[in-house]
């Protein structure tokens, strides 16, 4: 199959969990990578090594271990900056996850004074295909500021409906926040086109790249984003570490998010002054080991090559879509052409609830996700309450897709919907 990673078997051996067996001695077929990816040995080892040999707090420990720990943490920031082509390492802020990064932007924008200030009558534009983490923080902001939340609707084939873009993005628009790749529909959105329109009205563009960064080469400047967020655990890194990238002049204009240690320049009992970016937004002891693990994860996917990972994902997704659309009673939610989508495929099977689909697949060792995938509005748009989602990554094989297809046929038989 052309497009697959040629060293797929070698890559799979890097991920120890992929060789484990589940109940009844069944091999694991892991198709839940859009939920969280598995971790290569090198990431696990780097975290263990740090804890075993270099553990110390960063930036405040003056001893040798402190210096090693600080250097490793800051090196991870360099790696992230290079990976997403950030113009400056200072523009990379570590958070706990993508949700925290989005909340950081929405909260500090709601506190901002001056050019970034949002007031009554102003508008924030999102889309109907957002993860809840890119909906709720903007609801908070607009409710607090008396601003209005608006959104792009979706077309029947799972894309953003851009037909009314000039009505949605207007002189009143202060923020446009959207996902690059949908975690439910798989759709890859035309971020640049929307960002260009947003910039015509001087709106700030926030991009949720949680599903994009793991799957495709990302250049933050090229993308048109002013802020871009992603999470470590979907890009073969650990949980507990997320990234916010923002343009320097915007980050410098925003007030701090959390107050505490490390984010200050000086503190008196009356008032404080704040550190420069990125530390202004990193109060308290950060997730040090997790940041180091993310740095190594980025080394790993970079060594494989993001272009090759994208090609692999596209190939696997195309194969999965071809096979799945042959199953009677199966409906794909989202675009059915692989080149315009990511590797998450949500679907329905007539007569079998997604929970029951995933339960039967689980009994066969196949891990998928069932539910609303934290995208309830998008599900509602397509008239469904929930769906089953199979999602691949760089270690997914065509044989695993075959196992999924067999599992789905078996599920239909089990529930007698054939």
């Amino acid at each position: 199959m052309e497009g697959l990673l040629p060293d797929l078997e070698v890559i799979r051996k890097d991920f120890p969990i992929l060789s484990r067996t589940l109940a009844d001695g069944r091999p694991l077929v892991y198709l839940d990578s859009a939920n969280t990816s598995q971790k290569p040995q090198v990431v696990i080892d780097s975290m263990v090594d740090h804890l075993e040999r270099h553990n110390a707090n960063i930036a405040r420990a003056m001893h040798q271990l402190g210096a090693e720990s600080s250097a490793a943490f800051e090196e991870a920031r360099d790696k992230v900056a290079a990976f997403i082509h950030a113009p400056s390492r200072d523009e990379v802020i570590f958070t706990k996850n993508a949700s925290e990064a989005l909340n950081l932007v929405a909260s500090t924008l709601s506190w901002a004074r001056g050019p970034l200030e949002i007031g009554e009558g102003d508008e924030v534009v999102i889309t109907e295909m957002e993860h809840h983490s890119n909906i709720v923080p903007w609801q908070f902001l607009t409710e607090r500021k008396g601003a209005t939340l608006r959104w792009f609707g979706l077309t029947d084939d799972g894309r953003l409906d851009l037909s009314n873009i000039d009505d949605l993005i207007t002189e009143r628009t202060k923020v446009v926040s959207l996902t690059w790749v949908s975690n439910m529909l798989g759709t890859v959105n035309p971020v640049r086109q929307i960002a260009d329109r947003a910039h015509e009205v001087r709106a700030v563009v926030v991009v949720d790249a949680s599903q994009a960064v793991p799957q495709m080469p990302v250049d933050v400047v090229e993308s048109g984003a002013d802020f871009l967020v992603f999470t470590g655990h979907k890009v073969v890194g650990p949980t507990g570490i997320g990234v916010l990238w923002g343009r320097r002049e915007l980050l410098e204009q925003l007030p701090p998010f959390l107050g505490g240690g490390e984010m200050i320049a000086t503190v008196s009992m009356e008032r404080s002054t704040y550190a420069g970016i990125p530390h202004k937004f990193e109060a308290g002891t950060p997730p040090i080991v997790e940041a180091i693990g993310l740095g190594v994860a980025i080394d790993y996917v970079s060594a494989v090559g993001m272009d090759r990972i994208r090609a692999h994902e596209e190939t696997i997704t195309r194969y999965a879509l071809e096979q799945m659309t042959r199953i009677d009673g199966l409906t794909i939610l989202g675009p059915v052409d692989a080149e315009h989508r990511g590797g998450a495929i949500s679907f329905e099977i007539d007569g079998v609830h997604p929970h029951d689909v995933s339960q039967v697949l689980d009994s066969l060792g196949i891990a998928v996700r069932a539910g609303h995938h934290c995208a309830k509005p998008a599900h509602k748009r397509y008239g469904v309450q929930s769906s089953t989602r199979a999602s691949s990554y760089l270690y997914t094989t065509p044989q695993e897709i075959d196992a999924l297809i067999e599992g789905l046929e078996y599920t239909k038989k089990y529930f007698k919907v054939d």
């Binding site: 109940a23 009844d24 949700s99 809840h132 983490s133 609830h353 997604p354 929970h355 029951d356 339960q359 039967v360 009994s363 066969l364 069932a370 539910g371 609303h372 934290c374 309830k376 599900h379 309450q385 929930s386 078996y410 089990y414 529930f415 007698k416």
Partner: protein, 172 residues
């Protein structure tokens, strides 16, 4: 294929799933509640109609509109079949037994005399992630019933109709 799977999906459960008893929303009713399972989005709108008051109150009808998996749908069907016609006191005692079974991690021997078709859910207790599916409508019924009894003495039939959640937290 899998014994575990057959323990979970008993024929009785699949039968109730395909042919649910007492489905639909009916009048009269004294309380209506809406419960959701935020983890998966399963939902039930449930109405209760009681006659009499206090401990002697009798469950005259339980009607519902529900959307969810086979376990939650079948459990709703079985629940209505079990509680309709009983006094509230008797029905609450059945609920207790069902809840004990569900939370027993597979170690509780169900009493068929009490739970009837409800014994089919014994296998669900071995799947912790599915226990809340089985309990969704039971909790909705308990909530609706306590609302009616809490409002005893009032003569109007105004439904409560509030949203209520069986689980407090939404997962990412």
């Amino acid at each position: 294929m899998s014994q575990d799977l057959d323990t979970l999906y008993q024929e009785i459960i699949l039968d109730h799933y395909k042919n649910p008893l007492n489905a639909g929303l009916r009048e009269p009713y004294e309380a209506e509640v809406h419960h959701v399972n935020p983890t998966c989005g399963d939902e039930v709108t449930l109405r209760v109609h009681l006659s009499g008051t206090g401990e002697d109150a009798v469950v005259e009808d339980v009607s519902y509109a529900a959307e969810g998996c086979s376990i939650s749908q079948a459990s709703t069907s079985v629940m209505t079949d079990l509680v309709i016609g009983k006094t509230v006191t008797e029905a609450l005692s059945v609920l207790d037994d069902f809840q004990t079974l569900m939370q027993g991690r597979g170690a509780v021997e169900p009493d068929e005399e009490v739970l009837e078709d409800g014994i089919a859910f014994a296998g669900v207790a071995k799947f912790p992630a599915r226990v809340k599916c089985a309990l969704l409508s039971w909790m909705a019924w308990k909530d609706a019933t306590s609302r009616v009894l809490g409002e005893a003495g009032r003569s109007d039939d105004t439904p409560a109709g509030d949203d209520a959640r069986t689980q407090p937290k939404e997962q990412a």
